[in-house]
Symmetry: C2
Subunit: 337 residues, 2 copies
DNA sequence: CTGAAAGCGCTAACAC
DNA sequence: GTGTTAGCGCTTTCAG
């Protein structure tokens, strides 16, 4: 591999001159520059990125760390972060935290291969974040509330979301409402559940233990849990699934047993993933402000990178998007007559 | 930022000893090692990744380059590449080629910030690929046929796909079949179109110019073009959309005009994106073997990285997945009686 | 305008 | 086992 040294030699100039010429410094004579460029081309010279980063001790790159690069949910988020990065003249790389402590993500953080990071990955411990972040290595954590030096957090108001979802069901006359939760250790899930409880209590409704089930935030979990619920006989009139994936699985289960959504059972989800609007019936759900949060995360990161003051935690509002998977009980009974 | 030098000094050992201790070389005494580790912890020492890469002149990382990180189509591909990378002990970063020559992607390639790359991004020119690839910087290009030193390619048999799709329609008795194409400069599109033509000619059918329209591979394009077609009056009995996105837009247009898919018009797509199975009616389409191609790309890259021989181009088969958007003309006419 | 030289932080011979 | 040292390839003073 040709180095700048080779280029300089071939062009018959000093290394520094070659460097200047290559990086377009204006003080090299046009003729010299041309010579260098020619030599570079001839040698198929490629500058070595690390050497440069090492010297500059800056990478001009930020990382977006996700649990699973292949998850389809993040598209909007990724896009907005990307836009912000681009408009700040920074590069963005995405990497996965699969593999926990050994993952690419953790390596990137620990070894400072980037100038800062946005992390949306629950399998990275708070400890790692706290240890890695510092004023010259800012991190924006999403969906968790850890803060510290150089570490700020953005969360979405899941409690409010849970409340809104449940309230929507109650407002439509539902009294028996099941909650299908995600993993027990999930902070998001807990918030959504708390919102659910608040709405239920406020309306003087009771949560039935047998209608609180866990589907682990995955489609198949929602499916299985719903099947189980149906086998037990007594059914709720509405189900609040902790996320859309589970709701999609749930709807499938419901329809397989020849019940109809929303005629027999109303369903509401959470997230508003892309699929939500395409399934049948289109899913009423709580929309996560992906675009806003990505964009906010990006901006905050750059503010920190530029040593500007930022708050250390942000909470984003959430909204209900009404589609066709919830029907009011009055309407349902009317149509039965 | 503490460097290894600081650690060594605090621990009272030489730099090399510190380095050995930190990287777990077995020849340092347990006690020394402990001292070093303790010092490192105290200083909150983080090793500098570039310095290491520079020294080692290897990064243990490969890049997956996509046009748009936020595209949802690639999930399966990303996952399979990720699996292969992980199981080879390599890290994977994904980056976007948005921004063309100035993009992160091109920078990563030119500056060799990784050991090799898989690129699925049409806005990166063949030239860049050819220039950057070399025996010690292998690149696997997907969806294009450029090859060169250290550069191999994987394509999916689009011609066959186009043929199969069209043939499926013909086998269902359709004679007037429209083709909605993607961008004119798209290689994929061309292949699919050729397959379409081959099937048409083989069946002695004629392509009508007015039924060959371009929807630019986007949903809205499919929608508009279909609307236009419908306004012109005479309708085909089936439409082959160059990709699923356009088909989804097209179906919307068709239904807005109170026609039904597949009762009035049969529709077939290409790609088998996740949505395809969820829309109404579920879309019959040609499945791209995303998982297989990702996995193949990964394996080939590692073979090249390990200086093993590989072919320089691979072509993957494609299969039809039959769902509900195509109906045979006999069935249709029967139901009209 | 050009050249010599000092490192950036780390690894890996090599010598003790 | 541990210390010394020579770079990896580049940028960037500082002299000339």
């Amino acid at each position: 591999m040709a180095t700048i040294k080779d280029v300089a030699k071939l062009a018959g100039v000093a290394i520094s001159t070659a460097s200047y010429a290559l990086s377009g410094d204006r003080r090299v004579a046009a003729k010299t520059k041309e010579k260098v460029l020619e030599a570079a081309k001839q040698l198929n010279y490629r500058k070595n990125g690390f050497a440069m980063d090492l010297k500059r001790s800056r990478t001009n790159t930020i990382a977006l760390i996700l649990t699973d690069l292949s998850g389809p949910y993040y598209s909007e988020l990724i896009r907005s972060v990307q836009d912000v990065a681009l408009s700040n003249g920074y590069d963005l790389v995405a990497c996965s935290s699969m593999g926990g402590k050994e993952s690419t993500a953790v390596k990137f953080l620990r070894e400072k291969r980037v100038d800062g990071a946005i992390v949306l990955a629950h399998n990275i411990t708070d400890e790692v974040l706290l240890q890695t972040a510092s004023s010259n290595f800012p991190i924006v954590a999403m969906d968790r509330v850890t803060t510290g030096e150089g570490l700020i957090s953005i969360v979405v108001d899941g409690e409010l979301g849970g409340y809104k979802a449940t309230r929507h069901l109650i407002d439509h006359g539902h009294q028996s409402i099941a909650f299908v939760s995600g993993p027990a250790n999930s902070y998001d899930n807990m918030l959504r559940y708390q919102g659910y409880l608040r709405a239920m209590h406020e309306a003087g409704l009771e949560e039935k233990a047998k209608w609180r089930l866990s589907g682990n935030f995955v489609r198949d979990g929602g499916y299985k849990v719903t099947k189980m619920m149906m086998m037990q006989g007594e059914l709720p009139s509405a189900i609040f699934y902790g996320n859309d994936e589970m709701a999609i699985g749930g709807i499938k289960a419901i329809e397989e047993e020849s019940y109809s959504v929303p005629d027999d059972i109303s369903v509401i989800g959470f997230d508003d993933i892309q699929l939500a609007e395409y399934i049948n019936p289109p899913l009423t759900t709580i929309r996560q402000p992906m675009h806003e949060s990505g964009s906010l995360a990006g901006h905050l990161l750059f503010q920190m990178l530029n040593d500007q003051e930022v708050n250390d935690s942000y909470k984003l509002k959430v909204e209900l998007v009404e589609r066709k998977s919830v029907k009011s009980v009055e309407e349902v009974s009317k149509s039965l007559i």
